[in-house]
Point group: C2
Chain length 440, copies 2
């Protein structure tokens, strides 16, 4: 029917009609897509809206310097520096804003002083040689500073500062050659930058602040929880006893690549003052260590997940024979990570996870007993191989969970987390320690 | 003797002497450390020195605008914008410089036009309401633009552009309220930025250029080679038959975290024109896919490496029984990756790796035969478990190598790599395909 209708109109009108519908659909499509995207961005983190409003607010406040006549006369072209500062310093987290603000302030001061020094030094040689000397100094200092930006320790914390240092030194030493009001200009510019920077920092800290430290804390807790959900659900999934939401099977994948975020949050957190439950000089570096071990655990889970995806691991008698210890190992190591995550979240000493580590080790022992008891010859080797491979990975994961637990204990000590004190026998299992966690 | 000597002087002079030596040692230490660090930074990549000199050169060239009188009279305060542009646009790779330069240029143009539009629109309402309308527009546009920076697609390529858009729009709409020379100012500023940006791009492209695309290409090849070295050496290491340099055992670890670098290089490469062996619109995105599979392979290797580190896997009869196929699997999969790496490096169609994939599959078959033949009951299960676990991972790695091979084939097709054409039977193994690569 549709084909008949289409063929009854001439090809040209048909083409035009289709084109019109297509283009109207396309425009609608683009607008709807845009709206959906905007909504998505906001849904991922609603604080993004607050941040946008905060930046707009800071710009408006700084613009007042221009809008209101008396201020303008006092500040002159420096208002430009105020807007530049606000746009470049306003960052999502307090730590990043503080880092950029302080870097900008100190770099301007240092470069200004050095610029004035270079200017005075070059002036000694008279007006003919002065530009050559200034140019040479400029070349030398810019090249050296640019090179230093590659040093990892400088890149991590002071990259923006060195950039501003280069910029300011170039401006001062070049403008210095032209005008001698250099000191007045420098003082004015510095005051503007400090005022605008301070305003950004204050807005960032007081209006719905986003603290990098808190974000890092949440990220590490979240990552632990993601791994925990996978492991808690793994047993049921492996023995095909569950149906329902399977999102926990892929959630862990974000942990594989969280290194960059963790490192930058740690860098920013270093700049922050105490906030909420976190003191100034909270041991943020320890979070990085927990992150490293968590990621190592995630690598193992990635391999383990391959076993779930492989459809060739049918049910086998051998798999059934070790079902109970396997299910226990997986769910107990999941509980270890969950407990570690929640004690970290609540900032208490991670004593409750010790019980589950003990259970894990007992499950490994049970597995060993089951393996010793089962006459392996009874089973086809084809059945044994994949099951043993995944069980081995589970054992590796249990080892990983122990290192994570140790790292969180160290963090808890350094951060003076509350020790709610479970009975000592549960906290450190005494002679239990001697159970080695290897299969057999 | 030393103790006697020490006790013969009075405690105070001793203390002072020690302190002097310590502090002189410390200063020497600091200087030596600094020199060593500088040397290290340069050694990692000597092009860092070139880059520093390039930036310094660009600054000097731009400073001429200030130093030479007639230029200064013509350019005015715009010289400031030239230096700003050079400092902010000069990046290590050509792609990053181009990206920043183009972003800066277009964002300035767009924001300037929009600023003039806003100014004219607000002027309609008379001088009293004008600042309120301009302020409202400024708030709205800054908030919206800041929010859009969170959109992943914008963040990836246009983040700097949006930042400059906000900055320019704020400056234009604010200064516009004050002076009506806005158009002349805008034109002057735009010309300066375009000239300075163009100069940076030209210096970046012509003086010892570092192309992001080429860097990405090298990084992916390097990563493949690192995994290949591990796998080629794994067999000897696992059977403790080798001594010597073991650096290949840890080199692969950098692959685990190369996602960020790969993604940013791909983004920068997108901006680059054709260079060397790479045409404009080289399929850079395909490199990302190869990167994903390479990383997945690296996760498996991380797990496999755990088996090397575990000291409890003693030599066992079972391990010896499957030594030959295991050694072959590991060395052949290493060769697959090595061949893939070198064909990618030479930009030829990866036909030579097919032979080794075939060998891998045959080795897996051999392993299966060996397993079938061996009466598993003969061995202690304790011997079997760790060996089977590591062998399973090797099989997973072989699967991974196949997906990497497919991804590189796809890349080779899209990039029109040279097909030097090996005999067809080797290129695609025909009936060989049916060999499934699972243990048994």
């Amino acid at each position: 029917m549709v084909i008949e209708n289409a063929s009854s109109t001439t090809p040209t009108t048909l083409f035009t009609r289709v084109k019109t519908i297509a283009s109207s659909l396309k425009i609608k499509h683009v607008i709807v897509d845009f709206a959906i995207n905007i909504k998505k961005i906001a849904e991922v983190d609603s604080r993004r809206i607050t941040h946008s409003l905060k930046v707009a607010l800071a710009i408006i406040v700084v613009s007042m310097i221009y809008f209101v006549q008396p201020f303008y006369n006092g500040m002159g072209e420096a208002g430009l520096w105020a807007i530049l500062t606000v746009v470049l310093v306003s960052e999502f987290t307090v730590g990043a804003t503080l880092s950029k603000g302080l870097n900008r302030g100190f770099a301007t001061l240092l470069a200004g002083a050095l610029g004035v020094g270079a200017e005075s030094f070059a002036s000694v040689f008279g007006p003919t040689i002065k530009p050559i000397i200034l140019g040479f100094l400029l070349f030398l200092i810019v090249a050296l500073a640019t090179f230093l930006r590659f040093a990892p320790s400088i890149k991590r914390r002071y990259d923006y500062g060195v950039l501003i240092f280069i910029l300011t030194f170039a401006l001062v030493s070049v403008s210095g050659y032209r005008v001698d009001k250099i000191l007045k200009l420098a003082q004015q510019r510095f005051t503007t930058i400090v005022l605008a920077g301070a305003m950004c920092v204050i807005i960032s800290m007081c209006v719905c602040p986003v603290w990098a430290g808190e974000e890092l804390h949440k990220l590490i807790v979240n990552n632990l929880e993601k791994l925990a959900s996978f492991l808690e659900g793994f047993g049921d999934e492996y023995y095909r006893t569950s149906n329902g939401d399977k999102s926990f099977l892929t959630a862990y994948k974000s942990v594989l690549n969280s290194k960059g975020t963790e490192e930058s949050l740690t860098t920013f957190a270093w700049w922050e003052i105490g906030h909420g439950k976190f003191r100034f000089r909270h041991p943020w570096k320890e979070y990085l260590k927990v992150g490293v071990y968590t990621r190592k655990c995630a690598y193992h889970i990635e391999t383990l997940n391959g076993h779930l995806e492989a459809k060739d691991e049918a049910h086998s008698k051998f798999k059934e024979a070790i079902k109970e210890p396997c299910m226990t190992m997986s769910s107990e190591v999941g509980k270890v990570l969950k407990e570690l995550g929640s004690s970290l979240k609540l900032m208490i000493y991670p004593s409750s996870s010790a019980v589950h580590i003990k259970n894990c080790k007992e499950a490994v022992e049970e597995l060993n007993t089951a393996l010793r008891a089962s006459m392996v010859a009874e089973y086809d080797i084809q059945e044994i191989i994949p099951v043993i491979a995944s069980t081995s990975i589970l054992v590796e994961i249990i080892k990983c969970a122990e290192t994570i637990s140790e790292a969180i204990e160290e963090l808890s000590k350094q951060a003076h987390f509350l020790n709610i004190g479970l009975p000592q026998m549960l906290v450190s299992g005494g002679e239990e320690e001697s159970i080695t966690i290897t299969i057999l």
